[in-house]
């Protein structure tokens, strides 16, 4: 009986040693891989919506917090001043269902097809304010990054996106 119990205890110890070994190997490999991989992410992401668009902070991230307009009042002032071109990067269907007043549609999935026309329409120093669905959507940052690569010099992002504009009870255009 006592021998049986000792054997069981020994097996249990072996199980926990194996478990610890698997966990240690996993953690070490994960950290090393994440450090070297191009798709690696920071150990601490930006998951606080009040700070702007949330992101895992990937190594090759397109997120640039300095571009973000986090305050709805500032955004309303910008729209009312009429000096900026608002760019909606959501799908065409979402744009047609409702968008910020005066916004133009540049859906991210059709970016490559539409960027030529966009170039013809807007000069490179046009002040662009990009938005997508909301603070959990990185599409506006992706498009902002692409537009800067193409030479546009004044690109900003409304991080609250269409969701926050709607929550503010502000007017929208429907096409």
């Amino acid at each position: 009986m006592a021998q049986e119990r000792n054997k069981t205890d020994r097996n249990l110890v072996q199980d926990f040693k194996g478990l610890a070994a698997l966990l240690i190997v996993s953690i070490c490999c994960a950290l090393v891989f994440n450090f070297w991989s191009d798709s690696g992410i920071a150990l601490k992401g930006q998951w606080d919506r009040s700070q702007g668009v949330v992101s895992s902070k990937e190594k090759n991230t397109v997120v640039d917090a300095s571009r973000e307009i986090n305050d709805l009042d500032t955004m309303v002032e910008l729209v009312n001043a009429g000096m900026s071109t608002l760019v909606d990067v959501r799908s065409k269907a979402q744009f047609d269902a409702g968008h910020l007043p005066g916004a133009v549609s540049l859906p991210i999935e059709a970016f490559d097809r539409l960027i030529g026309d966009f170039f013809v329409e807007y000069v490179l120093d046009t002040r662009l304010v990009i938005y997508c669905a909301g603070r959990e959507c990185l599409d506006s940052h992706r498009i902002a990054h692409s537009l800067e690569t193409y030479g546009f010099s004044d690109v900003r992002i409304f991080s609250g996106g269409f969701a926050e504009w709607m929550e503010g009870g502000l007017p929208v255009e429907i096409r």
């Binding site: 097996n11 194996g18 478990l19 996993s26 798709s39 959501r90 599409d139």
Partner: protein, 138 residues
């Protein structure tokens, strides 16, 4: 025979599930965030480490190296997944970022099937743990 098949099935499922997550930890982190159950500081470390835990536990099970330890990890992971999915199904929470790049984010229906799959895997893992009890294997 059944035990071997189940071991292969669970092992392959875990290895296969880990590959995509290892390749795109940023997307996996966003999915974890989408559950709205975890504090921000734990999201990135989980997205980095969990896929490798799945990979090595799956491989250990497939190769028969410390299989009981691998099963203990697998059942624990499945338990956490099941609890998280169940909580979100019960409170009707669906993550939808409204963005093109994550357009395949889960719907309530896919969450339900994910829960069914995880419950089936959990039952198989518990069965294997029972089957692999030290006093029975000798």
């Amino acid at each position: 025979m059944l035990a071997i098949l189940l071991r292969l099935f669970i092992g392959i499922t875990f290895v296969a599930a880990s590959i995509d997550k290892i390749g795109d930890p940023g997307k996996f982190a966003t999915i974890i965030y989408g559950y709205s159950l975890f504090p921000g500081w734990i999201i990135n470390p989980s997205a980095i480490v969990l896929p490798f835990v799945e990979l090595f536990a799956g491989l250990a099970l497939l190769l028969g190296v410390v299989p009981r330890s691998a099963l203990m990890i697998i059942t624990s992971l499945l338990f956490v997944f099941i609890v998280a999915i169940t909580i979100n199904l019960l409170r009707g929470h669906q993550f939808d970022c409204g963005c093109f790049s994550l357009s395949e984010t889960s719907t309530a229906l896919s969450a339900f099937w994910l829960l069914v799959r995880d419950l089936a895997l959990f039952a198989c893992a518990i069965y294997l743990l029972q089957k692999n009890q030290p006093h029975r294997s000798r």
